[in-house]
């Protein structure tokens, strides 16, 4: 047995991701903002367009960093939640690898990205393929799935790096293909920094 994606999606899709009176998703105790994806994409596009050429890499790193911070804390909330414990943990037989499978199934369940693991060398490298993600239809130039890069890096840190806070930034995620540039899917590779 390993984590079955469809089972996880069916279970987690029932969880409400609306914020409570404090703006938190009760299940994960993380802040939720129900804003359109277009807002993030538009912000990213404009800030990148406004950056001078010599600072574009820095701005891009900032966008990925923002996603990383979000992904690290939300990811931690997800994999330690009761619903994850009930839906995913009984199927975990391959440790961190299965937890990552479950995490990407959770991504899909909430419509954040339709993505999954293609290759995984434990603690060293992971290749992910995504058929839909925030920036898939965004404006701008080049590969620009900042959100997905940050989230994937965060998930790998949570799975294989030291516990918070020492384990943060152990890994880095690069994008090699993107729907936004006409590729048939987005491809992301996480490796040690």
């Amino acid at each position: 047995m390993t984590v079955m994606r469809d089972t996880v999606v069916k279970s987690l899709a029932k969880v409400t991701v609306q914020g409570d009176e404090n703006g938190l998703i009760p299940e994960y105790e993380v802040l939720v903002n129900l804003l359109p994806v277009a807002l993030l994409n538009s912000f990213a596009e404009r800030i990148m367009a406004a950056a001078p050429p010599e600072r574009k890499a820095e701005v891009e790193a900032g966008l990925v960093r923002a996603a990383y911070e979000c992904g690290y804390h939300t990811g931690c909330g997800i994999i330690t939640s009761e619903s994850f414990n009930e839906a995913v943990m009984p199927m975990v037989t391959e440790g961190a690898k299965d937890i990552l499978r479950g995490a990407y199934a959770a991504f899909t369940a909430w419509g954040w990205a339709k993505a999954g693991i293609v290759q995984l060398k434990e603690g060293e490298r992971m290749v992910i393929r995504a058929f839909d993600y925030y920036e898939a239809d965004s404006g701008g130039e080049g590969l620009r799935a900042y959100m997905f890069r940050g989230l994937s890096q965060a998930f790998f840190d949570l799975a294989y790096a030291d516990p918070y806070p020492d384990g943060m930034d152990t890994y880095v995620c690069q994008q090699t293909k993107g729907l936004e540039v006409g590729d048939p899917y987005g491809e992301f590779i996480v490796t040690k920094k």
Binding site: M4, D6, V118, L120
Partner: protein
């Protein structure tokens, strides 16, 4: 296939017999064609350049006997299937003098493929070696998975190819599978393979290597490729033997990508 063979064989018939070259076909294809169109006979093969000889007798769709040099029976037949260069000649109406195989042609091809797998040192060991190599540098895959999948789709009889993660995530697909709900197919395959692997584990009979699911004349063939599962769909079960033969290397190659 039949048009191809009719062309090959009719050209050679002018020379007084059915003969040809292994560069234009292979023994599995040839045997399937001849056994479906002739009642019985023997295919005699000479391998180039070492002039090793082999022969295959069939009768009424049954592979009666086979030899390849000193090898006989299914082992000899499996060896013959690996011959790449040489010439063949078909003699119709000839009876075998002994019976060393005694399986239907399709079944014999399938069994020979399994025998070849084991003879070559076990597919799993080969895959493990490939995985180890991959571990050294996973980025240096020889060809991309999409390219290998397209080659699979070129194999006669294969209608669709799907690569599914162990969790049921559909990594890639090509061919007519695009007509169906691919996510449902991926989930179903992953559930089936997980169940089968659990059964193998309970029975302590090694890991799953092949899975064939028959639906009337259609067959879905599944194989592990790296950490994923490859499934090919064929609408014609009679081509399964040749499909296994022609896809073996491609599956191993595909395993390097997952």
């Amino acid at each position: 296939m039949s048009d191809q063979f009719k062309q090959i064989l009719s050209l050679e018939q002018k020379d007084g017999g059915l003969k040809g070259d292994l560069s234009s076909t292979n023994i599995a294809d040839l045997l399937q064609f001849l056994s479906s169109s002739s009642k019985k006979g023997v295919i005699k093969v000479v391998r180039h350049p070492d002039k090793e000889q082999g022969q295959v007798y069939f009768d009424g769709g049954e592979l009666v006997s086979a030899t390849s040099g000193k090898l006989t029976g299914l082992t000899g037949f499996a060896d013959l299937l690996g011959w790449q260069e040489g010439s063949f000649r078909f003699f119709p109406g000839v009876d075998a003098q002994n019976r060393t195989v005694g399986l239907s042609v399709q079944h014999a091809i399938l069994e020979a493929m399994v025998s070849m797998d084991h003879g070559a040192g076990n597919v799993r060991e080969q895959t493990a070696a490939v995985m180890e190599e991959r571990g050294k540098d996973m980025e240096q895959a020889v060809r991309g998975a999409t390219e290998v999948m397209n080659d699979l789709l070129e194999v006669p009889g294969i209608d669709a190819v799907v690569i599914v993660g162990r969790d049921g995530f559909v990594i890639d697909s090509t061919g007519s599978s695009l007509r169906v709900n691919i996510d449902v197919l991926g989930a179903s395959l992953a559930h089936a393979v997980n169940g089968i692997e659990e059964m193998g584990s309970e029975l302590s009979i090694d890991h799953f290597q092949d899975l064939f699911i028959e639906y009337g004349r259609s067959v879905i063939m599944c194989k592990p490729v790296g950490d994923a599962i490859a499934a090919v769909v064929t609408p014609d079960a009679s081509k399964l033997g040749i499909i296994r033969h022609k896809t073996k290397k491609l599956f191993l190659e595909l395993g390097q990508s997952f």
